[in-house]
Amino acid sequence: MSGDIILIIVVATAVAFDFTNGFHDTANVVATAISTRAIEPRAAIAGASLLNFVGAFISLKVAATVGQGFVAARAVTTTVVFAGLIGAIAWNLVTWYYGLPSSSSHALIGGLVGSVVAADGWSAVSGGGLFGKLIVPAIVAPIVAFTVAGLSILIIYRIVGRLRPGAVGRGFRFGQLASSGLLALSHGTNDAQKTMGVITLALIAHGDISAHGFHVPAWVVILSASAIALGTFTGGWRIIKTLGTRIIKMDPAQGFAAQGAGAAVILAASSVGYPLSTTHVISGGIMGAGAAKQVSAVRWGVAGNIVAAWVLTLPAAAVVGGVTYAISRLFGSGAVGPVVITVVLLAALALVFTRRLQQSTPAPVPS
């Protein structure tokens, strides 16, 4: 009975994480298209939401990596998964509150690693898996996106550079409708799978699925797809502002190059099972598209703040995940700990959202 209650809390928490992931990452998907006025903000967010949902059904390879690649199955209990999710959600909300585009994916894996370490020690963590499947791709992917976007914009300017700017702008605004759609699709493909992986881990810990026959149940896929789509629809105006205008001011061709590069890298990574951060990748693409035109056009100070948030994400989420597990264990091994933590977290969330809504209104739409 106690195990069932914890499983229900874990699934609900995972869905909440997926929602915050979509909420947090909306900016990555739509910021460039909005900042170049290729699409009206509400339409961009609605379209991204729909494509997020569809994208979640394309692949399951990333879910398998999250479920099997980083922590030993013997160390995973439903309470461990719960604590890891709380670590990720807490970090997502802190970075959202301060308008920093950090990585939801790395927060999730950081939270999970922290709670596993608190429960079973370092021996339960696959250092090789973390290094080879998370850290190296996390470093390489934004560099690839930077390079692809930079090369793309240089070639684009070479081909269309002497044409009428108005016509070229219209052409690439049209192209951005497709590139931002593709980016939304790739976001759904890569990010929704992380939640699927975590819920599946909890189902394995609960004994519903064999650890040897890893597979994601259909209801988990549908639930994860719906949660991320709803989160994206709800949007994240503060981060849109940071990514769309504060890193670099872009023309439609640059937006197209940045989004195309981002989508290409995320989809390529999804096909080999790498749980990438869409935030890292699209920021790399934006900076590549900007730097190729003019290095000084990129606001490197803002980019530096974003990098700092990235570096902090894994350890910060791990600490919160570990502390959450320790607090939960103070109440014993039953459902009391997760229930108490959930109630406290919900109360804190209500307080933060109320204060945030009182302090700010949505960012003005460029006219």
Binding site: I58, S59, L60, K61, G127, G128, G129, F131, G132, K133, V136, P137, V140, A141, V144, A145, T147, V148, A149, L151, S152, I153, I155, I156, I159, V160, L163, R164, A167, V168, G171, F172, G175, A178, L182, L185, T189, F256, A257, G260, A261, A263, A264, V265, L267, A268, A269, S270, S271, V272, G273, Y274
Partner: protein
């Protein structure tokens, strides 16, 4: 050494060349589509219909190739996963 051994070089390379091929490939063919459409419009205004048709064809081919690369990429991702 253990850390290096944990890196799947094949997967990493695959991510690299698929990203480059798809990202840069779409940029090239879509730029050609924009070039074709813009020049076709200019040529029509100058009443050079043959040249305008050639540029319009370039625009259509560029657009079809752009869509083709995207669809092929999605099929590959879905097929491999």
């Amino acid at each position: 050494m253990i850390a290096l051994a944990s890196i799947d070089g094949g997967a990493l390379l695959k991510m690299l060349y698929w990203s480059l091929a798809a990202g840069v490939g779409v940029a090239i063919v879509f730029s050609l589509a924009v070039l074709g459409a813009t020049r076709a419009s200019d040529m029509r205004r100058l009443r050079r219909s043959n040249v305008a048709t050639a540029y319009a064809t370039l625009a259509v081919v560029g657009l079809v190739l752009s869509v083709g690369i995207v669809v092929l990429g999605l099929i590959l991702v879905a097929h491999k996963s």
